[in-house]
Amino acid sequence: MLAAPAPEAAAPAGAALRQPAATRWRRVLRSPASAASLLWLLGVVVVSAFASALAPYSPIQQSLTALFQGPSARHLLGTDELGRDVLSRLMFGGATLLWGSAEATAIAFALGVPAGLLAGYAGRTPDRVLSWVADLSFALPAFIIVVALAVIYPQNVLILMGALGVISSGGVLRFTRNLTRAVRDELYVDAARVAGLTRRQILTRHILPVITPPLVVQACLGMSVGLIVLASLSFLGLGTNPATPNWGQMIYDASQQITTDPWLMVPGGAALALTVIALNVLGSSVRDLAPGTGPASRPRPRARRRADLLPDPATPAETASAIGLLEVRDLSVAFPAGARDRSQPVVDRVSFTVRAGETLGLVGESGCGKTMSVLSIPGLVPAPGIVSGGSISFDGTELARAPRQALRRIRGSRIGYISQDPMAALDPSFTIGSQLREVIRRHSGCSRREARARCERALGEVGIADPAATGRLFPHQVSGGMAQRVAIARALAGTPELLIADEPTTALDVTVQAEILDLLRELKERRNMALIVVTHDLGVVADACDRVVVMYAGQIVEQGSADQVLATPRHPYTVGLLNSMPGGRPAADRLDAIPGAVPAPQDWPSWCRFEPRCPMAADACRAGAVHLVQAGPGRRTRCVRAAELAAAAKA
């Protein structure tokens, strides 16, 4: 009860939390709410510790001539039904509660944390035994037992709260165990084990530091529960000695005088509530230290190096004659960054065309803006991102500025989408058949019976051997390749004219990748559908694509027919990608793989964005923004030294 056992304890992303403790605590204090909480708690502790020196009156000194006086200069919080000074009672009334709940929490953690570490780290048998003990403690009605114990030890806070601590240690045990197990499986702990560190070294150096913040959170929550439990016991007249007042008892006394003087409810209630709130706020701000949620992990825009956002002067139409099924022009996607009204583009004026029945490859490393570019087509850029510029014309309809209703009509029925991780793309709570049938019925409006038949046909079409049986399975019961087939069937249920496949094979085993790619190609042919394949693998482009767009740091750096681009790349980045392919051809230059990584959007240089990693970088590359220029029929490149590349290829 003290520590609500979290069944799915948030797995701490271990490595990221490993920063100097001082930095972390300083971050807690930076938030005004948690600083105020800490201040309040310190105040309560100090006042409680030195109440006899600080309080203006004795907490039990009665004055029958001064009953129910409201707040005044003599009695800042007034007097109660026996003329006792409320402020003084308040100042004396915290100590018992604080001590009692600190005791319960300390006992719960002293028992629970070592046992939890043991259960989580030492192996199977201790885990089983200790988990059983923890389960047993969950069968105990903690509060009721503490109340019952009051028969034996009336008003003995030490024993009553000690018992609460013992019972609650089961929850702490389970919590610690789950945390420990999550960390134990982290790679760096494996590495430490392989490096020959002893079990004790691993526990104290690698596991304890990581699980400490969540345990601190739990301890704060435990303290606040302990306070309420002890206050409730006092309210029932079981907790503490009437001679030494505490806040719970003050509320009880006040509740007996509620019609005469409702004010008396306020001081005790406020003191208790504020202390509990302070503990909860402090707890949650420690929890927010987890990576990815803290303010420091948010990228800060660096204005000095921000890329110029002037329009490209020369954006020649790709092929003036053929009007595509999908025409994307100067598309930009941006996310809010740092200060108000500032936004950071992640896709920067991207233009491409997809003709009916054609396959376009969108290539680049992670973080180049490929996924955001394609998600903007069916209007699925995740909030708070927005399409900040350009147009997306699909079969004559403008999608970039279309109302939500119009986009919803197009999704699934005209534009399909399959995502990178097929296991994550299927709703884990519904069977494969049920989610497929729902989409089928949505698009065809057919009967349930008809949907069942269509569902089996759809699963058959994507190469699933036993559609009826597969339909009854849940997503976690099938393999990744099978899940991707299901995801494809679901994306095609509305017979779209364009299918967007975002890294459709990346998450799959190598042997399955080719099957899925074949399936996509085959379905595309059969349905005469256009296809956009997002990938970082030029092998996929070579296998499946008619044309290709290479993206780097939010921009298109090269585009053209797949054959041309693969055979005679006109951008050093494409060359680098080609050379990093296993079995890729040896390059004209010394490039083996591309050193470094794609810079984060706020670090994009204002000149050629690839320059810092480019083996051909020269002074000219740093002179200013580089524009996308025509480089032969149907080809464009964004490189000042493209001509040299072309010459080298001919040589």
């Binding site: 114990l149 309210f235 006040a254 409810m265 005790g268 509530a273 995502s419 989409v439 019961q477």
Partner: protein
């Protein structure tokens, strides 16, 4: 599924036995003999001895344990030392009050919390900030403080509801009226606590890949939110609901006192004050049984909602 439920039950029953045994032996630690406490200072030693003998407390402890356990298995939890009526009967008479309180509170808590939490997750603006602010206070204020405030406001000042007392189910309207304030006092904290949980779970689920994929497949917002997102966010929430229900039982002990309701909590508190050991034991055992049952139901509900657990 059935196998899992039976497995859980097989674990739960020994636990109940352990709790029963622990309860019995703990109560043996009560200092002094019951006669001198219950009869008071005026009783003669002979009277006390006779009283103790009538309760059977001077028999060997193991013999007492044997007969108590034997009786407990058959549903006979002994006789009260103060009222001399059967413990089982006393508890059964009080059970409907506590049960009404807990069930009504859950009926209020779950739908309200799900609605509030979902609304806050979908509208991350004013409503969200409001919920978080209010929730902080509602969770921090003890239920007896909230209860007293409600009495002052709605019973004393406005006279909408009775301040104390209980009316049986035979008069449903009065029954509801008599329980309205206690239920509100019990529910306000948990509603806010659960709403925060629902909000967190919903925000988490809405960022999932499958939600985007379902939208991309053309499902209407209604289905994506209320069929798929809500269903998935309920799986972690259901465990919290179980804990809330157990928390309600503890809360009921206090609230029954505050509103003078003759429920199990009242039986427990009065028997504790009166050193009526058999009644205390019976009440603790009954609460333990409810805890075991609630945990079992929570596990089953979680399994129903989460196909990955169900398969195991």
């Amino acid at each position: 599924m059935l196998k899992m439920a039976l497995g859980r039950l097989a674990l739960a029953l020994p636990m109940l036995f352990v709790v029963a045994t622990a309860t019995f032996f703990l109560q043996q630690l009560v200092p002094g003999d019951p006669g001198s406490f219950i009869l008071g200072k005026d009783a003669t030693p002979a009277e006390i001895r006779q009283f103790d003998a009538s309760l059977g407390v001077n028999r060997p402890v193991l013999a007492q344990y044997g007969s108590w356990l034997g009786g407990a298995i058959r549903g006979n939890l002994g006789t009260s030392w103060t009222s001399h009526s059967p413990v089982t009967q006393t508890l059964l008479a009080a059970a409907p009050v506590t049960l009404s309180l807990a069930v009504l509170a859950m009926i209020v808590i779950v739908p309200l919390a799900v609605a509030l939490g979902t609304a806050a997750a979908l509208n991350r603006g004013t409503l969200d900030r409001f919920l978080q602010g209010i929730a902080g206070f509602a969770i921090a204020l003890p239920n007896f403080w909230i209860g007293t405030g409600l009495v002052l406001l709605l019973a004393v000042d406005l006279r909408v509801f009775p301040a104390t007392g209980y009316t049986g189910l035979s008069d449903p309207a009065q029954w509801l009226r008599s329980l309205a304030l206690p239920v509100a006092a019990l529910a306000i904290g948990p509603v806010m606590g659960l709403a925060l949980q629902v909000r967190g779970a919903m925000i988490d689920v809405l960022s999932k890949d499958y939600i985007r994929s379902l939208r991309a497949a053309g499902l209407p917002t209604r289905s994506v939110l209320f069929r798929h997102a809500l269903r998935n966010s309920m799986a972690p929430v259901i465990t919290t609901i179980g804990f809330q229900l157990l928390g309600l039982l503890a809360g009921a002990v206090v609230i029954e006192q505050l509103f003078n309701l003759p429920g199990i909590g009242t039986v427990l508190v009065t028997s504790v004050s009166a050193h009526d050991v058999p009644l205390v034991q019976g009440a603790v055992l009954l609460f333990a049984g409810v805890v075991v049952a609630v945990n079992l139901l929570t596990d089953i509900a979680a399994a129903v909602l989460n196909p990955r657990v169900r398969g195991r």
